[in-house]
């Protein structure tokens, strides 16, 4: 089971039409991710890594190529099905946390559960459990502006995990944090990975990428594995 492939990409291409001209952002990406992996996708800005993240996260569909996530073929799905897939399969962690400022930590963590139509009592139990897991059991009823940056990112991580997704997808998760809190967040990632969670992290920072067990580099819309060099 440990070798079970949960994500397969074959010849993924993404083109945008900008000012009447076709601009090719991804030029044939092949990628496989197995269950329990901790993968970093490393690339400078403009390399297409955000577009790749959007496609992995089912926020966008590729122009060409085949993308399979947990045995489902993405790409031919409508927005409603994609929403259900995101809800079940992907836990998003954003650079700027994206917490609802008018909701408590607990309410923020409940958001994916609301869209999973979980009964409210269960939502509360599950969200509280997630906040315990990230070490914020005493901050459940705090609002984001009462929390430090590191704590806010932990709330976001708890939210990403709450519906028990197949993949935790983190976009520059330490980008808005200082080095020390950034390291703490990385330690949390290690801990979650040790518990068996699959993590895909997108970053331009080679030091952060080095926390991952495997690194793929993306440059000009092409992907390559191997020696780690600074992007």
């Amino acid at each position: 089971m440990a070798d079970e492939t949960i994500l397969t990409m074959r010849g993924i291409e993404k083109e945008y039409i900008v000012g009447g001209e076709v601009s090719s952002v991804l030029k044939g990406i092949d990628l496989e991710v197995k269950k329990g992996e901790f993968l970093a996708i490393l690339g400078p800005s403009g390399s297409g890594k955000s577009t790749l993240m959007n496609i992995i996260g089912c926020l966008d569909v590729p122009t060409r190529g085949e993308y399979q996530l947990s045995g489902l073929s993405i790409g031919s799905q409508d927005e409603q099905t994609l929403a259900h897939i995101r809800n079940r399969e992907i836990g998003f962690i954003f650079q700027s946390f994206f917490l609802m400022q008018r909701q408590t930590a607990l309410e923020n963590v409940k958001m994916p559960l609301i869209y999973a139509n979980m009964p409210e009592k269960q939502q509360n139990e599950r969200a509280a459990e997630m906040l315990r897991l990230v070490g914020l059991e005493d901050k459940m009823n705090y609002y984001p502006n009462q929390l430090s940056g590191g704590q806010q990112q932990r709330v976001a991580i708890a939210r990403a995990m709450s519906n028990n997704p197949t993949i935790l997808l983190a976009d520059e998760p330490t980008g808005a944090l200082d080095q020390k809190t950034g390291r703490q967040v990385m330690e949390l990632f290690h801990q979650l990975n040790d518990e068996g969670r699959t993590i895909i992290m997108i970053t331009h920072d080679v030091h952060i990428a080095e926390h991952a067990k495997r690194i793929v580099k993306i440059l000009d819309g092409n992907i390559g594995e191997g020696e780690v060099t600074d992007a």
């Binding site: 409603q80 929403a83 259900h84 995101r86 994206f98 958001m111 139509n117 009964p119």
Partner: protein, 400 residues
């Protein structure tokens, strides 16, 4: 696809949002509040006024058929036998012919030029509770063509200032009459409406048989028929018309039969139309309020683009996003609607007290106010909610 849990969750989110923008919520709802307040208070006040007016009409003239005769050159009015035929009809409880004339009145050297003298029957007083002092005309007075009269307050003031007029004698057109009763302020509505007898010197009512002799008239041109069963107005009208038809040689335009009930029906239809017209005008305010809501919702969608993106990333389907924004708009306008209903009822209560009419809560007006504001919320919230639901999650997330 939708269930109660979803709606409850979406309502909760909508409420959180409405609560967190109190000032804006208030200003946005103000349009709806004003619109609904206007609709409710206009309808309630107009209903109250119309109800009071119609009530007065009904109390004065319900159950009465009014016959007026223009007659033919050969036969100017109804004969005693025509009247007898009408009186024998099933549903008739009494008749009161009216003979009107303007004559002089005098007492103790005081002379009044234009006193309205009316001939009436005993039934008239049985069906209209008018006499406040003394007694009314009786059947015996009618049969004996007695020289007695019931005078109204105006005439009493002119001739008997400060004195009790009962059993006193006055001269009408040079003939002496005994005053037997005094009528209160409650003037004969039909008479005053038709413009007769509104003479400033007052009115004296005498037996119609006596009046016939006094005026030399050879027929009755105005007759009130009192009904036993007011539900059978139309049947009685037809029966009376049949008799009149015969009496006037099949010449239909020589008489007219008219009932207060049909007048009331007409008035109710007209006032109903008036009410709807007013409500229509007031709902322009609701329309403006709805546009305000739509504007605010569009602003809200733009402001919360990032939130929408986040929710979509977390698994919100387009339908869920649409539901959330639509509910927000409905909650907003419904809140305005409920406040408007309360304000409208308060205003119309105060207005009813000031005007002095009945305050009746019109259930249909309340339902209209609540229903209309909900409809406004749905109609004007639809486009912004649709717009929110169609945002691309990537663009929305990127809108930092």
């Amino acid at each position: 696809m939708l269930n109660m849990g979803m709606i409850r969750q979406s309502l909760k989110l909508s409420w959180q949002n409405i609560k967190s923008n109190k000032m804006r919520t208030f200003l946005t709802t103000l349009g709806i509040i004003i619109g609904v307040t206007a609709v409710i208070s206009l309808i309630t006040i107009v209903d109250g006024v119309i109800g009071s007016v119609l009530g007065q009409f009904a109390s004065l003239g319900a159950g009465t058929l009014n016959v007026s005769i223009t007659g033919t050159p050969l036969k100017r009015g109804l004969s005693e036998s025509d009247m007898a035929a009408i009186e024998e009809l099933d549903n008739v409880s009494g008749l009161s012919p009216t003979i009107s004339a303007v004559k002089t009145a005098a007492r103790k050297g005081k002379l009044l030029d234009s006193v309205s003298v009316k001939g009436k029957s005993a039934s008239y007083y049985q069906n209209n509770d008018l006499v406040t002092l003394g007694r009314a005309l009786t059947q015996t007075d009618i049969e004996q063509e007695a020289h007695v009269c019931v005078i109204d307050q105006d005439l009493a003031d002119e001739l008997f200032l400060g004195e009790n007029p009962i059993e006193q004698t006055i001269m009408l057109a040079g003939v002496s009459y005994t005053v037997i009763g005094l009528e209160g302020e409650n003037a004969d509505l039909m008479t005053s409406m038709s413009g007769f007898g509104s003479s400033s010197d007052g009115t004296a009512t005498i037996p119609y048989t006596t009046a016939k002799r006094l005026t030399g008239s050879n027929g009755i041109t105005s007759l009130e028929i009192y009904m036993e069963d007011t539900d059978k107005t139309e049947e009685l009208t037809e029966e009376v018309e049949a008799i009149l038809n015969q009496a006037f040689n099949q010449k239909e335009n020589t008489y007219s039969v008219f009932s207060m009930d049909s007048l009331l029906d007409t008035m109710e239809t007209m006032t109903g139309m008036l009410t709807y017209m007013l409500a229509g005008i007031a709902s322009i305010a609701l329309l403006v309020g709805g546009i305000g809501i739509m504007n605010m919702m569009l602003v809200s969608v733009t402001e919360r683009t990032k939130e929408i993106g986040l929710r979509k990333a977390m698994g919100a389907t387009p339908a869920r996003i649409q539901l959330q924004f639509l509910l927000e708009s409905v909650v907003l306008s419904l809140m305005g609607g409920i406040i408007g209903v309360i304000l409208g009822l308060l205003i119309s209560f105060v207005a009813a007290m000031l005007i002095g009419v009945d305050f009746v809560i019109s259930v249909s007006a309340v339902a209209l106010g609540v229903g209309f504001s909900t409809a406004v919320g749905i109609i004007f919230g639809w486009a912004p909610a649709k717009k929110a639901s169609q945002l691309s999650p990537i663009d929305a997330l990127r809108s930092e």
